[in-house]
């Protein structure tokens, strides 16, 4: 019984289901941060990150 349960949860699909929410939330947070620094149209955000945008080759002004 114990053995069976272990095998059940070690299948990649169920492991994926177990980690899906935190992994996707983290990736979404990453996308929001990159957007905020690299793409935000707010003038102050643009000015603060200006040189970083140019070097990262984000489209800039």
């Amino acid at each position: 019984m114990q053995q069976q349960a272990t095998l059940q949860v070690t299948r990649p699909k169920s492991l994926l289901r177990a980690i899906a929410t935190p992994v996707l939330t983290a990736a979404l947070l990453g996308a929001v941060i990159v957007y905020g620094v690299g793409f935000s149209p707010i003038a102050a955000a643009h000015n603060a990150a200006h040189d970083a945008r140019h070097v990262n080759v984000f489209p800039c002004h």
Binding site: T10, I19, A26, I33, A49, D51, H54, V57
Partner: protein, 263 residues
């Protein structure tokens, strides 16, 4: 727990990679931006319209004096470094989950600094190499198509490259051929460019100097972003192996083989 662990790893990895790339830029790309800004504003007034179609003529330009901007010198460098660190943290928050999922799907401990280099190279292709083929690195003062159109094209190119690399790496047979079609899509649509050359608004002599600066800037940004992404990839792979893997193993009840490999 897993979310917190990924975020903490991304903060560490992003801080290290962001500071590293700031140091690299400081002696190669930043002086080129400063040199180009010497010429910026020396263009004919007619160029202002071509500069950004999204803005009505006379409307506040992004470089206007009213909006806050860091003062030149230490303050500006500090904000640039902060922006670099934040960008690297954001990229780390995409890379670390990707490596975590890769390992979970394969069911083997694959993450390492070495395999992370490959992930870093893939990230560099997605957000630098392929978008820059359509929209080359811009120095300040160059004319370009409307900002919104360029941003949309950039995002499309980055997303298509990520999908194509995923298909190439993990797909079989016809899926791999599809990868070529996916990466070709943004180029079939065409990157947005203005009708005039980037420095058409300047005199011949200045335009020549700006073109030379732009060429050097393209090389400098390619190197700086490559350094950033290789560092990001290696550090992310290492962080997943060291700190994320044990949490995933505990959460999924992974076999002892998988959990033991962490040490």
């Amino acid at each position: 727990m897993l979310f917190r662990r990924i975020v903490l790893c991304a903060l560490l990895v992003g801080a290290l990679a962001g500071l590293l790339v700031s140091a690299v830029q400081h002696w190669q790309a930043i002086p080129l931006i400063a040199a180009a800004e010497e010429f910026e504003g020396g263009a004919e007034p007619s160029a202002a319209v071509a500069h950004d179609h999204a803005q009505a003529p006379g409307e506040a330009h992004v470089h206007d004096d009213e909006a806050w901007a860091p003062r030149d010198g230490a303050e500006r460098h500090l904000w640039t470094a902060l922006a670099n660190v934040l960008t690297a943290i954001g990229f780390g928050l995409l890379l670390i989950p990707a490596i975590t999922v890769w390992e979970a799907v394969r069911g083997r401990p694959l993450a390492s600094a070495r395999s992370g280099l490959l992930w870093g190279a893939a990230g560099w292709a997605c957000v630098f190499a392929v978008p820059a083929l359509g929209l080359p690195a811009e120095i300040p003062g160059s004319a370009a198509a409307a900002l919104a159109a360029r941003q949309a094209w950039w995002l499309l190119a980055a997303a298509c490259t990520a999908i194509a690399l995923g298909l190439l790496a993990f797909g079989r047979g016809p899926l791999r051929a599809l990868a070529l079609a996916v990466v070709a899509l943004p180029f079939a649509l065409g990157a947005p460019h203005p009708d005039i050359g980037p420095f058409a608004a300047y005199g011949d002599e200045v335009a020549r100097q700006l073109e030379a600066l732009a060429a050097r800037f393209a090389v400098a940004t390619a190197i700086a972003t490559a350094v950033q992404w290789l560092a990001l990839g290696a550090l992310s792979g290492w962080a997943v192996a060291r700190w994320v893997r044990p949490v995933v193993a505990a959460r999924g009840g992974a076999p002892a083989r998988f959990a033991r490999a962490q040490s």
